[in-house]
Subunit: 242 residues, 2 copies
Amino acid sequence: MSLDGQLPPKMRLLRAAAELLANSAGAAVSTRQITQLAGVTAPTLYHHFGDKEGLFDAVVAAGFEEYVAGERDFAPSGQPLEDIRRMWDNHVLFGLKQPELYLVMFGNIRPESRPAIVADAEALLEEMLTKAAAAGQLNVQPREAARSILAANVGVTLMLIAEPAAERNLELSTMTREAMIFAVSTEQAAGTSPEDSGRSSVVVAAIALNAALQASHSDQLSSSELKLFLEWLHRISTSTSS
Amino acid sequence: MSLDGQLPPKMRLLRAAAELLANSAGAAVSTRQITQLAGVTAPTLYHHFGDKEGLFDAVVAAGFEEYVAGERDFAPSGQPLEDIRRMWDNHVLFGLKQPELYLVMFGNIRPESRPAIVADAEALLEEMLTKAAAAGQLNVQPREAARSILAANVGVTLMLIAEPAAERNLELSTMTREAMIFAVSTEQAAGTSPEDSGRSSVVVAAIALNAALQASHSDQLSSSELKLFLEWLHRISTSTSS
DNA sequence: CAGTTCATATAGCAATGTTATAGGTGATAG
DNA sequence: CTATCACCTATAACATTGCTATATGAACTG
């Protein structure tokens, strides 16, 4: 069993590493396994990739292409938040489909040096969230929202991967997903600080509506109506009724 | 520099491993470093702990004691949700204070086999959440809430550890924390179902405010004002602006 | 004292990531 | 056609890793 087609050794190394990584059932993958499967010797690996980590980075980059492709395919739905949902789900499914690759990509955390892939995924999310922000659907800076959502997304995926496949319950994912989206979206009240938590739902809703009205240009009310509406809204919002 | 006090070798191994793990700045810690610092030879390690992983598990168990101690100290505040917040913060701070130990505890994810520590932490959270549920403050099953919160908590902590210490922004933590707590608590509005998400946030907020206003008897508006307010709200709510 | 069990040490194995050195191959220049 | 040169690959080995087969000492038990 060797991968010696007519492909150049560099490609064969990449494929061998990817294949071994995908089927290694959690065990570590050695450079010797890779080079043997690729039909190459050790120095070839180090000539092309410098490191074992360099090779893995390359595999990850290819995996990320796939990941991004999945993310971008259905991107322009016109509903940014819905796109965020699909990006989340795609992220989780990618992790469950290729756990080993995912762990190399997102699970290899070391202090003070985060995987380049994290920054890329974050940027991808931020890009989409910026559209949501432009549509007045965002409550916080797109960057902060992206960081927060990605953190939760990675955490959930890691937890799901760690579970026995039989017990995996995707509701953990959807529940956390909705929690995060809800938190960053203008569907909710403005502040998420502890002080706000005691407020009545009336106030919360008023704050949300206030923010939403100012962000979006609703044409359902005349400007004078809107002004009076906002004033009342403000009165309700600032009421101390807990 | 050796740790040979009068302590038994088992203890010395534990301390040596803990110390090396704490100061290893991300680099791997070898059994030889540990045994040398402990002033012991290799077989002693394997006699007492079976494995390198066994030794690490023991270190983790000790670390977990510390972690749990931090969690339990301020437990009975009478406000379960507030306790959850502190557990979250304690979790993050523990991770940032001892990143290496934390990574061994929570970062060592392998498919289909989750660290025992995760189950313990989950149980701890669930215990506290059950109190919240008993107080009618919970929206979902305590177990599901615990799993979701822990996943996000771990994700956030890993992300923060991966960042350069200078850039670490704890707002990522508080933001995600509040998002999760809000999601599982009964403080939130009724529907977070996907059907609602497609709608304009203005509409959603208006619906929420409408329902809230009709349920509670706000005294911030006169009855005539309220009537007009509700009419406008209705106009906004039924608009098809997506 | 004899015997058994626990605890530690000596020495070494197999596997790992990595590299110093050298051989081969193809293109280009004379 | 030969020579040069850059690129790519192989041979062989190195140091380090986790781990263990075997043996020695100590401490309790009969």
